[in-house]
Symmetry: C2
Subunit: 438 residues, 2 copies
């Protein structure tokens, strides 16, 4: 077996950008199916918006020059030549004429401004105008909002709710999006049993990673194929991994924690295709025994078996790989939350540490309270809001220091100290977790 060096976080991110390529499968979907999908082509308007000159107020459509000089003391006098109906083409007006126009109504030919209803007085068919209008006042011109050919969104943009409205306005209904990446999940380990197992035998634990990783992948728009659990048998492992690999765009293997399973995972990943393993071990904690490979162009990921480690690795690296598959150009805002650290956090120089924290608001300021627990208790996932990085070159972080909390939950109530749900893991223990565990 080759010797693999342990990589630093930044180096791993560079390898991801360098090795994994976007999927090119494109699907056409309707407006109603396009929410949260990623554009496979740039989108340009195919018509002018609005398609006609349009009033932005209730009032009278006029020729602006007919109102020049009009004031409260010296109104302009115009002839009322009719009413414009919503959704109808408007007949023209001539010099000295005005037509009533509702908000959104189509401007008649000959008119170039709208006088608001507040600034006129109707006397029979005569209109007194008490305020002069400038050309184009209270009018949106044809194509002013979006002109035919206007670049609206770039390839790689992920469509939000408001964006679908813009597409509808622009007359774009069949939308080219990237096909959803298909991701297979295969769990390994003799101690692992399906998550929905009712009653555990001594020594067994449920397959947590299939559940958390599966849901996180689906929330990113992936289709997930659950490959089940493989026992510690190399031939069976290889056969099942190859079968699943053939059906997917990316394969995630969640490793058992025993040495035997970890060795098998490496061998299986090497067998799936070239160039094989890119990263074997990352100098971070938790999450060190992570493996990244590429086989026949597809990413193959070996996640640590421990659920807490697996979620940290998912957030740091797997999200990035999925975004690569989508060729995303619109990355989310930096989703990190700024908070002050509630206590000193020591760390080893040369290793990035990721510490789970709970957020608490104290006197209007956000504080990050580290959550410990030996070997990353699963219950800490239920109470943490996110993770704080102690970068590799640092010896630690100081109490009161501002940190950026990378939140892996989109929402979670901020619990005050009195109603703590944790059972008290916070601020117990130390940052040192058992080295073999995660």
């Amino acid at each position: 077996m080759k010797f693999f060096e342990v990589h630093e976080t930044r180096a791993v991110i560079e390898l991801i950008e360098q090795h994994y390529q976007p999927l090119t499968r494109v699907a056409k979907v309707s407006l109603y199916e396009a929410f949260d999908r990623v554009l496979a082509e740039e989108i340009r308007a195919t018509e002018n918006v609005p398609g006609f000159d349009r009033s932005t107020v209730d009032g009278y459509a006029v020729r602006a020059q007919d109102t020049f000089g009009a004031s409260d003391s010296l109104p302009a006098f115009l002839d009322i030549a009719g009413t414009i109906e919503m959704g109808q083409a408007a007949g023209p007006i001539s010099r000295g004429q005005a037509k009533y126009i509702p908000t959104g109504g189509m401007m008649p030919n000959g008119a170039d401004a709208v006088v608001m209803i507040e600034h006129v007085e109707e006397i029979g068919s005569l209109l007194n105008v008490f305020k002069q209008a400038a050309p184009n006042e209270n009018v949106i011109k044809k194509g002013e909002d979006l002109h035919d050919g206007h670049l609206i969104f770039r390839r790689g943009h992920r469509l939000q709710a408001v964006d679908l409205g813009v597409l509808a306005a622009a007359g774009v209904f069949q939308i080219p999006v990237f096909a959803k990446p298909i991701v297979g999940i295969l769990s390994t380990g003799d101690e692992i049993v399906p998550p929905e197992t009712d009653s555990l035998q001594p020594g067994q634990i449920r397959d947590i990673n299939a559940v958390t990783v599966g849901a996180a992948l689906q929330s990113m728009g992936c289709e997930v194929i659950y490959g089940g659990i493989v026992r510690d048998d190399y031939q069976e492992y290889l056969r099942r991994a190859q079968g699943l690999f053939a059906q997917v765009d990316m394969l995630v293997m969640s490793g058992g924690s025993s040495v035997g399973t970890r060795d098998y995972t490496v061998k299986v990943m090497e067998t799936l295709g070239k160039p094989g393993i890119l990263v074997h071990g990352i100098s971070i904690k938790p999450g060190k025994p992570t493996i990244l490979a590429k086989a026949g162009g597809k990413p193959v990921i070996g996640l640590p078996g421990h659920p807490v480690s697996a979620m940290v690795i998912f957030d740091l690296f797997v999200r990035r790989i999925v975004n690569r598959l989508y060729d995303r150009t619109s990355h989310p805002f930096d989703p990190r939350i700024r908070a002050r650290l509630s206590r000193n956090l020591p760390s080893a120089v040369g290793r990035s540490d990721y510490i789970r924290v709970r957020l608490e608001e104290r006197d209007g300021e956000m504080w990050a309270v580290p959550i410990f627990g030996k070997s990353g208790l699963i219950s800490t996932l239920a109470e943490s809001h996110g993770i704080v990085e102690i970068p590799a070159p640092k010896e630690g972080l100081l109490q009161g220091e501002w940190v950026a909390v990378n939140s892996f939950v989109r929402e979670r109530g901020i619990v005050s100290e009195e109603e703590d749900l944790s059972g008290g893991h916070a601020a117990q223990g130390s940052t040192e977790e058992a080295p073999g565990c995660c």
Copy 2:
């Protein structure tokens, strides 16, 4: 018709909390269907996690007292009594014995600590232990992570990916969640045509709000029933509104912009049930002509017709109403992004102004660049990242001031000035939009 006073933003929020009640329909879903659903009951663990004492390292399970005093120079000598297999019950050990145990393996009866493999030497069946172990060292005790009965999540919690893993670990597979709110959308106005209309006639515009509001509601977990478009005919409007109202938990009416349609909307809302209209007009811009009603316990919302105004109102008020229907206790973090304002923004005292902004990073600092455009051009939705509030008591905000940007898109690329997609609406015009328009 009654006289309605225009409400301030804070007063409207209070009315929402006071008048709209959570739905009580509960559904049981599986782990794989529970992502992003809201818990209808509190959840407690139904078993101990782990279900057995468990090693957190690869090493030897021992009685801690047999290792007391052991050191590099004076090792303790133990008998190797076998190997513990993953996922299997472990036989007991006696005084002076040790068993090999993999990470995650079940501790044998009699053992209370694990010595890491790095600190032992195997000589045949003899084990030299070079470091003493404290009781419980490298062991997670049965129930230490989650004990049977442990409160995991409260009613109203929205389930994230990691949470599903915690539920699986705790043996909770059938999950009581609130049924999805069913929301009807009815659009009105003679000028409005279905969004997918290929070719517009003069004076027509597409139904943008059904698309944006529908997608935003679905992203919050609602089921949406599209009720189509009603012409400006009171009897037809009433009949269609009543028909849709009977099928839904909440009705959203998107008003046409003409005065006639707006009057009809008020009358229809009054007819649907008691107590009827709660809010008619809000002192904000854009979004003033918003109507909130309650009929037979159900929220009924009259949104402004203009798409930009409708999205602002959706974000400020409709989101809150949907969350009320879910009885959410876990609110998202404050999702606002802190940024500095790129220019002065004047405002009228006594009215809350909501200004769309684009975010730009300049020298590592985030800046909010106001986007204007008369009467809220739809294209401004495609380029804005969110909105900034100028609170009612303020005369405006100053250039360079720090503001909180309420982001109504979950993600959007931060565009540098060179590759501006906007066509140049930013920093044009003034904050004053035509008063009749939105």
